[in-house]
């Protein structure tokens, strides 16, 4: 009987202040005695005391209720038993004129039954109320989104007090281990809220596959860490429930008791209520966190993707990726390496928080040893090192010495081949989150796109430049052939005709005139041919370079030219040709469309670039989309990695600026 009752009362009893419990016990013993004494006094002094006597029985019932509320079921039942016994033996029923007028045996039996029932009911109600109150307090914290640490601390304490445990510990599963997140002990400050235990074997393992509750009556012979706890804190029995969150076993709520009789029966059920509440709170927090983390990740990725889409230089993308990935993964260092054909890796970007150590850009190291860069180079797959024990390689050893503890990395695959890797290292003792690789991966995909774009662009530019160079060479050759062939023959013929002219005598009639006409005709054909050849390729450019070629252009232009060309030495041929055509086209347009009175041409070399500037004072308003002639120029300039811009506001002249890098 007592053990059954104990199941739902002992916990509540242990929640009471000891003074209150002591008082309840004192009243439990003194109360019946005093009441029976009062009854005796009634019998002696009052003839008509029967009704009062019955009232006293009911007063006793009220006392039992009070004791049950204050001290629990044991003192209440004690009161009932003591009162019935005292009444039976010490205060026999009052008989008046042969008729019993006070409570008889049947009345006492009724009293006893009612007392027990009321005690049980009160105890149960109070117990239930206590449980609901405890859960409500925790639920209120959940509703107010208090920090997880605080919530867990309060929940362990409430659970401990409710089930009457001496020790409570809440732990979570983290990559195969149980790690304490909160603890409470009845004696303040005894039970540490830290520690990690392997969850692979033993006690805790039984939670993982299914939602099971475990109770161990004597834990000294079980799971070793628990047994150690048992010895250290005198824990005799334990009960545990899993905490389920987002459909998986998140962790464990473990309670221990030092009492010999162990934890009450309903302990697991009540712990389960807490575990449910905690599980829901954790699920909510996790989905909130994962949502905000997802949003954060998406924003970081979008920032990088915008860079990539905008055609930013790969170096800018690399730097952005190391920083964004570092911030997102909350690590202290991220770096990006490129694998070189000579079996080394070179750091192309790096980011660090707090400057504990750094991975300098440009640092080159041969592959080999136990480090992520080498592992990834061998597997072309994401990899992680959950601890830096036994790592080798200069870079990683420096990090290990600086207190770094773990790392995760992913390869950068460009069009199916391994190009490089991004590695993030952390000083945290805990391993990086399980999805860290996947998160780095989404960045490395962007890097791959950027690299691929840059390579394609470089190839395209190079091929464009090659096509142009080949065409230019062909034109140069045609011009040369014209000059060396037809032009020379015509020149020779002209000279021959001149010689013939010199031999003409006055008797030859019209021969002199005819020869003169032939010579003029030849000269005219020669001029036409020169004009044609010049259009195909300006020979002065290949013979004299850009300076003389621009002067020639200026002289031939119908609009007056102000030429400001610094002494320009010979430049790479593609640059000379492009610059020549840029100026030539600008002058042609100025002469045709602008009504300009003067055109200024500037050419200067600065920081290994050729800057060209053409400005006229004409009517402006030229098509900003560039005419077909200028489109060809744009192709030509961009093929060399240069830029060209035309500005032509109506009424304010037209200006053209081109910039050509001298080194390819």
């Amino acid at each position: 009987m007592v053990s059954v009752l104990d199941g739902f009362t002992s916990a509540w009893v242990r929640q009471r202040p000891p003074a209150l419990r002591l008082a309840a016990w004192i009243v439990a013993f003194l109360g019946p005695a005093l009441l029976v004494l009062a009854t005796r006094l009634l019998h002696w002094t009052l003839v008509q005391g029967g009704l009062l006597d019955v009232a006293l029985v009911f007063a006793t019932l009220v006392l039992v209720i009070a004791i049950a509320v204050a001290g629990g079921i044991r003192p209440a039942l004690t009161t009932v038993v003591l009162y019935v016994l005292a009444r039976f033996f010490l205060a026999p029923p009052l008989v008046y004129q042969g008729v019993g007028i006070g409570p008889n045996s049947a009345t006492l039996a009724c009293f006893a039954t009612a007392g027990v029932a009321v005690s049980l009911l009160i105890a149960k109600l109070a117990d239930f109320g206590a449980e609901q109150a405890a859960l409500r307090r925790v639920a209120t914290l959940v509703a107010h989104s208090v920090p997880a640490g605080q919530l867990f601390a309060v929940a362990t304490e409430e659970a401990g007090r409710l089930v009457g445990a001496d020790y409570v510990r809440m732990s979570r599963y983290e990559s195969g281990e149980l790690a304490a997140v909160a603890a409470w002990s009845r004696t303040a400050g005894q039970f540490p809220a830290s520690g990690r235990w392997s969850a692979v074997l033993g006690f805790a393992r039984s939670f993982t596959p299914a939602r099971r509750r475990v109770r161990v009556a004597d834990i000294s012979g079980t799971y070793r860490p628990l047994a150690e706890d048992a010895r250290a804190y005198g824990i005799r029995s334990a009960a545990s429930v899993p905490i389920m969150a987002t459909g998986r076993t998140w962790g464990v709520l473990l309670t221990g008791s030092t009492l010999k009789r162990g934890l009450p029966r309903r302990t697991e059920g009540r712990l389960a209520s807490f575990a449910d509440l905690l599980g829901t709170a954790i699920s909510n927090a996790e989905s909130r966190a994962s949502l905000s983390r997802l949003a954060e990740e998406q924003m970081a990725l979008r920032r990088v993707a915008t860079l990539v889409a905008g055609g930013a230089p790969p170096e800018a993308v690399f730097t952005a990726v190391t920083e964004e990935a570092g911030q997102l993964l909350r690590v202290e260092i991220t770096s990006m390496v490129r694998y070189e054909s000579d079996g080394t890796s070179i750091v192309v970007a790096s980011w660090g928080r707090g400057a504990k150590a750094s991975v300098p850009v440009g640092d080159r190291e041969p592959l080999g040893g136990k480090n992520l860069v080498t592992i990834i180079s061998e597997t072309s797959s994401p990899a992680r090192l959950d601890h830096y024990d036994g790592v080798s390689g200069a870079r990683v050893e420096r990090l290990a010495q600086a207190g770094f503890h773990s790392a995760v990395g992913a390869p950068i695959m460009v069009q199916g081949r391994l190009w490089g890797a991004v590695v993030a290292a952390s000083v945290d003792q805990r391993a990086l989150s399980a999805d860290a690789e996947a998160r780095i991966r989404s960045f490395t995909d962007l890097v791959a796109t950027a690299v691929s774009n840059a390579e394609n662009l470089a190839e395209l530019t190079a091929s464009r430049a090659r096509v142009l160079a080949a065409a230019d060479e062909a034109r140069r050759q045609i011009e040369r052939d014209l000059h060396d062939g037809a032009q020379q023959r015509l020149v020779s013929l002209t000279l021959a005709v001149r010689a013939a002219q010199a031999a003409v005598t006055p008797t030859s009639g019209l021969l002199g005139d005819e020869l003169a006409s032939v010579a003029d005709g030849l000269a005219s054909v020669l001029d036409d041919l020169r004009e044609l050849a010049r259009g195909i390729h300006p020979s002065v450019l290949s013979d004299g370079g850009l300076g003389p070629a621009l002067k020639t252009l200026a002289r031939r232009c119908s609009v007056p030219i102000k030429l400001d060309v610094q002494a320009i030495e010979r430049l790479p041929e593609p640059v000379e040709v492009a610059a020549y055509y840029v100026i030539s086209e600008a002058l042609t347009n100025a002469a045709k469309h602008s009504n300009a009175s003067v055109v200024e041409i500037g050419a200067e070399i600065a920081s290994n670039h050729l800057h060209l500037h053409v400005l006229d004072d004409g009517k402006g308003g030229a098509d900003p989309a560039l005419g077909s002639g200028l489109t060809g120029l744009k192709d030509r300039v961009e093929a060399l990695g240069g830029t060209i811009a035309v500005s032509s506001p109506a009424g304010a002249g037209t200006s053209l600026d081109a910039d050509l890098p001298l080194a390819a």
């Binding site: 020779s492 000279l495 010689a499 000269a523 001029d527 020979s539 002065v540 003389p548 002289r555």
Partner: protein, 147 residues
Amino acid sequence: MRGAGGYCNAGGVGFGLVVVDDNRSFADCARVHLERQGERVLGVAGTSAEAMQLVAELRPDVVLVDMALGDECGLDLARLLAQPGCAHAPVVILISAYSPLDVVELIAASPAAGFLPKSDLSSDAIRQIVATSGRATAGGHLAGKNH
């Protein structure tokens, strides 16, 4: 200049000329033309090296240098010939099949005494350039440093 007398050499002795041109047919043509006008074409060279050798051997008064010497550049040869260190310093006249308008910048930068379009090659034109170069005497004899 078109008159027969115009081609006569006033002093009776023509300039000693060397023609440098890789286009043999033009060089021959020019030789005939100029000799008919009374000049003495001492030799014809097709390359810079040949030209230097001929100039050293024949000591001409005037060297006509084609600006486009095959793979070589006539302007470079003109610079070589005009060097103070050159044993014999003839008057260098650049010639070309190009229009003067196309090459005037190159000529301006060259130490050559003048330029003649190939189609306008004549004794008179040569003499005019020599005269303006300030190295010719009234009799056609050069007043160069080596004379």
